[in-house]
Subunit: 350 residues, 2 copies
DNA sequence: TTGTAGGCGTTATCAT
DNA sequence: ATGATAACGCCTACAA
C-alpha cells in the first residue's frame, strides 16, 4: 500500500534557514525598512531599489512572516475560527463552505475544529482558538453555559452562534426555523388526513430537538388532536435506535399512519427500517438529503439552506470586525416543505 | 428573518485592552518571567506565588498570546493547512475529518481553504498559508506545476499531496487505486456478460480521470474486446452534461448494455437520467455514496475510504514534523467493489 | 525561587 | 527616498 519514491532526504546539506527581511536587506544592500516597504508595496521607493530588493527576495526565497507581522500590527491575525460537531456531516460542511467563501473575499483564513458534541472539548477549542487570536469565532455549541465568553465578547471579539443559541450569554445567533418547519410538516400530514402521527426524534433537550417537538405538539393541539405519547420515540440519534423505534411503531396494535423524523440521520435509518413493510406509512423528515427524490417513494422533507447559515454568520462577523455596534441579532433561516411523495401518502382506509 | 436582541454595544465604556503577562505581573506583584513560569506550568515556583498569579490571571482575564509565543519559540505555529476544492463535497470533508482527528491528538489546528479547482487560487492559498507559517500542508492539487514548492520543501516544510500526485515535484503522495478500481468494475461487468460498456467520465486529463479511463481500456484490451469510442463520453462533470450523455447513449441504434461512471457526481446525474428508461442498463459507479443501497435498484460501486486518506496524510505529516527523513512515500488507498444489484443486471438477450 | 536582558521578525515613528 | 530605533508579547539564557 505504500512505496518509497525518492528523496531529498539523502542529501546532507542542512536545510537553509528561512531568510528574514534582514537577510534580504543585506543581500540587496539596503536597510530593513526599505525591504519592508517593498514587501508591502509602499510608495516612495526608488524603482531601481525596488527592483534590487525584489531580486534578493526571489533569490533567497524570502516569504514574509505573517506571525511576526500580526504581532506588530494591531493583532490582526486575519483568521477566524469555526467550531462544529463534525465536518464530515454535510450540514456542517455546508455551513463551513458558506463561511469560508465570504472569508476568502476578505482574505481571511478559516480554522475549523470538531467538538464531537463534547462540551469540554468545545471549551478547550474555544480557548485554543482565542489564544491564537482568531479575530472572531463561529460556534455550533455543544456546551450548556457560555458565560465564560462574556469578558472576551466585551473586549470586542465577535462570537456568532449557529444552529443553537448560546446559554447564559447574549450574542449574535443564527438558527433555523425549527418550530415552523415542524409545524409545516405536521400540518401537511394533517391535511392529508393523518391523525396518528408518530415522531422519531433525537435528544429533546437539545435546542433544535426541543423546538421541533414543540412544533409537533403545538400543531396537534391547534387542531384538537389528542397526543398519544406512545407514538413518540426520543434519543434516536443513533441509527440503530431509530431503526428499533421504527419497528416498535410498526408493530403497535394500531400503528401510526404517518411518521415524522426530526433529522437527516434519523430519516435515513427510519427509511431503511421501513423497507421491510408492505404497508408504508406517510413520512416526512426534517432536513433535506441527497437522493431523497430518487428513492422508490420520493421523500417529502422540511428543507433549508445550511450554506446560508454560514454566509449570514460571516456577514455579521465581518460587520462586527469592521466596527458595527448594532444590537445582537437573531437570524432565523426559513424552512420550506418539499412535497415529493412520501408525505402525501394517504392514511389507510379504516 | 432577523431581529435585534439586546446589546452590550449600548454601554460606552471602551472595551478593556487585552492584558499581557506584564499586566498580570504588575497585578500580582511579581516579574513577567514568573508569570510566564506559572502560565507554562513550569516547576520551581512557590505555591503562594503561583496562587497569586493565578488570581491575577483570572481577574484580568489574561490569555496567553500564542502568536507572540510562536514567534519566540522556534516558529512552531502548531497549525497545519489543507487545501481542497470544496469542503462541501463529502469526499473532501471526509479527508478533512480524518486529518483533523489526528491533528487534534497533537494539539494542532487545521486551516482549511477551498481552491475551487483554480490553479491560481491554489497557489495564492499555498503562499498565504506558508506566510502564516503552517508547519505542514496537505494539498489536493488543482495546479499543474508544483516546482515552486521545492525550496520550501527543502527547507523542511512537509507537503503531502492527496488524491493526485504533484507535478514537477517529488513529495509524499496519497492516491486511490484509481486504475485498479476501474479494472474491478469493468471485469465485473464483463463477467456478467457485458460487451458494450459505456463510460461517462469527467476530464480525462486530470490524474484520477486518466487513471480510471486507462483501467477501462486496459481491461477491455486484456479481454480482447474492441473498444467502441462512441460509447465514451468525456468532460461530463457537470450534472447536465452527464445527463445529456446518458440520453445520447441510450438513444444509440445499439445502446450499451452497461454504463460505468467515473465519479460520484456523475453517477447521480446518470441515475437521474436513467429513470426514464424501462430497459435499464447495468451500472457501476466509481465512489460510493449515501443511499446507494436504497435506490429502486441498489447501486454497485467502486468504494474506498476517503477518511483514510486524511489520517494517512496526517501520519506522514506528523512523522515528518517529528524529524522523519525516510524517502517520500506514495501510498495507494485500496478500492473495493460493492455489488448491490445495478452492476449485476445481465445484458439483454440478443 | 525569582528576576534581568535580549531577541524572535515584523511594522511604526521619527529622523535624515 | 532611505534608514535608525523602538516596540509588539512572549520565551530563552543567564544571573542573583
Amino acid at each position: 500500500m505504500s512505496t518509497p519514491v525518492s528523496s531529498i532526504h539523502e542529501s546532507n546539506d542542512p536545510p537553509a534557514a528561512r531568510p528574514t527581511m534582514q537577510d534580504v536587506a543585506h543581500a540587496a544592500g539596503v536597510s530593513l525598512k526599505t525591504v519592508s516597504r517593498v514587501v508591502n508595496n509602499e510608495p516612495r521607493v526608488d524603482e531601481k531599489t525596488r527592483e534590487r530588493v525584489h531580486q534578493a527576495i526571489a533569490q533567497l526565497g524570502f516569504r514574509r512572516n505573517d506571525i511576526a507581522r500580526s504581532l506588530r500590527q494591531k493583532q490582526t491575525s486575519s483568521t477566524i475560527g469555526l467550531i462544529i460537531e463534525d465536518i464530515a456531516n454535510p450540514f456542517y460542511s455546508s455551513i463551513a463552505r458558506g463561511l469560508e467563501k465570504v472569508a476568502q473575499q476578505y482574505n481571511y483564513m478559516l480554522i475549523i475544529s470538531n467538538s464531537e458534541e463534547n462540551a469540554l472539548r468545545e471549551r478547550e477549542l474555544v480557548n485554543a482558538l482565542l489564544s491564537r487570536r482568531v479575530e472572531g469565532l463561529c460556534i455550533v455549541p455543544a456546551g450548556t453555559d457560555h458565560s465564560y465568553l462574556a469578558a472576551e465578547l466585551r473586549r470586542g471579539t465577535p462570537f456568532i452562534f449557529l444552529d443553537r443559541p448560546p446559554l447564559q450569554l447574549q450574542t449574535d445567533t443564527i438558527v433555523l426555523d425549527n418550530r415552523g418547519g415542524s409545524r409545516q410538516a405536521i400540518r401537511h400530514l394533517l391535511a392529508y388526513g393523518h391523525r396518528r402521527i408518530a415522531v422519531i426524534q433525537g435528544d429533546p433537550r437539545v435546542y433544535t430537538g426541543a423546538e421541533r417537538i414543540a412544533g409537533y405538539y403545538e400543531t396537534l393541539a391547534e387542531h384538537g388532536i389528542p397526543c398519544d405519547e406512545s407514538l413518540i420515540y426520543s434519543n434516536c440519534d443513533e441509527a440503530q435506535l431509530a431503526h428499533q423505534a421504527t419497528h416498535a411503531l410498526m408493530s403497535l396494535p394500531q400503528p401510526p399512519s404517518a411518521i415524522f423524523s426530526t433529522s437527516n440521520r434519523i430519516s435515513i435509518a427510519v427509511l431503511r427500517a421501513l423497507r421491510s413493510y408492505t404497508q408504508q406509512p406517510a413520512f416526512i423528515g426534517f432536513d433535506d438529503f441527497d437522493l431523497a427524490d430518487m428513492l422508490p417513494t420520493p421523500i417529502t422533507v422540511v428543507a433549508h439552506d445550511p450554506a446560508a447559515m454560514g454566509t449570514r454568520a460571516a456577514e455579521i462577523l465581518f460587520a462586527r470586525l469592521a466596527g458595527s455596534t448594532v444590537p445582537f441579532q437573531q437570524t432565523i433561516i426559513p424552512t420550506r416543505l418539499i412535497a415529493r411523495g412520501s408525505g402525501e401518502l394517504p392514511p389507510p382506509r379504516a
